[in-house]
Amino acid sequence: MRLAEKGLVALAQGLALAGAVALAGLFALVLAAVVMRYGWGKPLALTEELSGLLMTAAVFALLPQTILKDVHIRVSIFSERAPEKAAVFVRLLGSLILVAFLAIFAREAWEIADFTRRLNLMSEHARLPLAPFLIFSTLAVGFAGLCGAWRQLSPPPPPDARGGHP
């Protein structure tokens, strides 16, 4: 069980690093576009489309880790004030909503990615292949769903791991 959790966390961390690299790439690309346009008089044709794809990839790459770390915005005015038994139900409902949403998203995204791959669709101007980005995003969303389910189903960490007293 703990081994599976370690694997899940390590994969999420690896994806998060890939997302950070995508953001760094996005920054370098946009800056290079400005420098190329004014320094060499040659604008980079692929900047607009590639930066959009990098941004998409960065968002989905960091989704699993942010879900595991539970840093997303919630409206918790009722769930935090609910009596203990009701709170358990509300938390379960919240997790189900997350997993259901990500599952539907991943299913539909996979159809779009598969269609894009079969027709070898390219971006409009720079002719960048779209399928790799869509497949990566879809797999990351699916993995994020797994992370969401794991957070609900996994046994609570030992007391010292939660910062409590032994």
């Binding site: 998060a16 690093l17 997302g19 950070a20 690299v21 995508a22 953001l23 760094a24 996005l26 920054f27 946009v30 800056l31 576009a33 400005v34 004014y38 900047t47 607009e48 489309e49 930066s51 959009g52 794809l53 990098l54 941004m55 998409t56 960065a58 968002v59 960091l62 989704l63 880790q65 942010t66 879900i67 840093v71 997303h72 915005i73 919630r74 409206v75 918790s76 005015i77 009722f78 769930s79 935090e80 509300v90 938390r91 409902l93 919240g94 997790s95 909503i97 997350l98 259901a100 949403f101 990500l102 539907i104 998203f105 539909e108 995204a109 159809e111 779009i112 869509l134 995003s137």
Partner: protein
């Protein structure tokens, strides 16, 4: 039927405490499935289309810019430089909070980033000097909202991208209202502190020579403002490019005169990407919901009903503002905007309101939402920053005068729309 289904779904999913993006997105999927003939794929397609927009790539870059400023210690340098000047006023360093938020607003597009950046420097310093905690938090929460109004602004950027309105004009439209709000905040601080002198300690006054000399340390932020807004308004760079130019300038300053190290920079990329993902997840859910609202032609139906009801434009504006006030209690600003714009934009521009002016009005309403409990994001950020020395309730009470002043600003803007439209009209004439 559709309205009650929408309200019921949102009520259950959002109030369950589920992650907001998932709650909004699942509601959108359900509407698309039941009322849209199973067209859930359209929601996902809309997400990929919107996330691929070049204009929106400015968002992570502006977040990165704010994070680099904090990581490099440039934020604290600017605060120290401006403090002696405002220490001469009765409100003391509370004025500095507003002034630094205004200056930071000109390089950061996010209200929360400004609150966090200035708050992390100002809160420990001001409480150590004996300022009342709730007053400090209130001024930081209020001042932080200026980050969203003074260009570059993520809110105006998203508004422009979603409504096909000129982002350059929108940014210019935010300048005067932003400065007006800063002035209103400072007037309030001065008047209230003069009435209740025990609220703030008396600051030692430095001679004018030393005060002016300290101001020289403001130059890094002025350089950044020039890099970001200068490149944008001179027409040299697009909003995304100006953000990248700003990040490059901030990194350069951070390495040369700040505390930035390669390790800190790498950590900043990771933390900025994480922050952006949190923002983007809400955005993603709101886009799916907005897609379902648009597909079912709900805006058009609402427009037809409003036209039939014969409400005057200003009464309709009042109704919209009231709805934003209520939504601001529950939703964060970004999702509120993405969800409502498909209805509000055609509704109010159809009634004759200027789209540029409306962008500023919507941004102010989002700022109001940032200070409205229980989901006031600026309050959350600052309460977290104080390690809960200040409760959410105390923070909300401290921010209440700024909340009221934002509504006063909105009233002024409605009476005199030129406050927002004058500068873009002048520049684009």
């Amino acid at each position: 039927m559709i309205w009650s289904a929408l309200g019921g779904l949102l009520g259950v999913t959002v109030l369950s405490g589920a992650m907001l993006g998932a709650a909004l997105g699942l509601s959108g999927f359900a509407i698309l499935h039941v009322f849209g003939g199973g067209a859930t794929r359209l929601g996902v397609q809309a997400v990929f289309n919107v996330l691929g927009e070049f204009t929106l790539t400015a968002i992570p870059l502006f977040i990165l810019l704010g994070d680099v400023l904090v990581a490099s210690g440039l934020a604290s340098g600017v605060y120290r430089a401006l403090s002696p000047l405002f220490a001469r006023l009765a409100g003391g360093l509370l004025h500095t909070n507003i002034a630094v938020c205004t200056v930071f607003g000109a390089v950061s597009g996010s209200s929360m980033s400004v609150s966090a950046a200035v708050g992390s420097v100002a809160y420990p310093e001001l409480t150590r000097r004996g300022y009342r905690r709730a007053r400090v938090v209130g001024s930081l929460a209020g001042g932080g909202t200026l980050g969203l109004l003074i260009p570059p602004s993520l809110s105006l950027l998203i508004y422009g991208a979603l409504t096909d309105t000129s982002i350059g004009k929108l940014f210019l439209a935010g300048v005067v209202p932003g400065l007006m709000m800063a002035l209103l905040f400072m007037i309030y601080i001065e008047v209230s502190v003069r009435r209740e002198t025990s609220a703030v300690p008396t600051e030692p006054r430095l001679p004018w020579g030393e005060t002016l000399l300290a101001l020289r340390d403001v130059w890094p932020i002025l350089f950044l403002i020039l890099a970001v807004l200068g490149s944008l308004f001179a027409g040299i760079a697009t909003p995304t490019e100006s953000a990248a130019v700003g990040v490059a300038a901030a990194v350069m300053l951070g390495f040369t005169i700040g505390d930035l190290t390669p390790r800190k920079l790498l950590e900043t990329f990771l933390s900025s990407a994480r922050t952006f993902t949190v923002v983007a997840f809400v955005f993603l859910g709101a886009v799916i919901l907005a897609q379902s609202i648009s597909l079912l032609q709900l805006p058009q139906k609402l427009l037809a009903e409003v036209a039939g009801a014969g409400l005057s434009p200003y009464l309709m504006l009042g109704v919209v503002i009231l709805i934003y006030l209520l939504l601001g209690m529950i939703f964060d600003g970004l999702s509120m905007m993405v969800m409502t714009l498909p209805v509000v934009f055609p509704l109010l521009t159809g009634l004759g309101f200027d789209p540029i002016w409306l962008g500023v009005v919507v941004t102010i309403m989002i700022e109001v939402g940032m200070l409205t409990p229980p989901v006031g994001m600026n309050l959350f950020v600052l309460v977290g920053l104080t390690n809960r020395e200040v409760t959410l309730g105390e923070a909300a009470v401290g921010a209440l005068p700024y909340w009221i002043l934002l509504l006063v600003g909105l009233l002024l803007l409605t009476i005199a729309p030129g406050i927002a439209t004058w500068l873009p009209a002048l520049s684009f004439a």
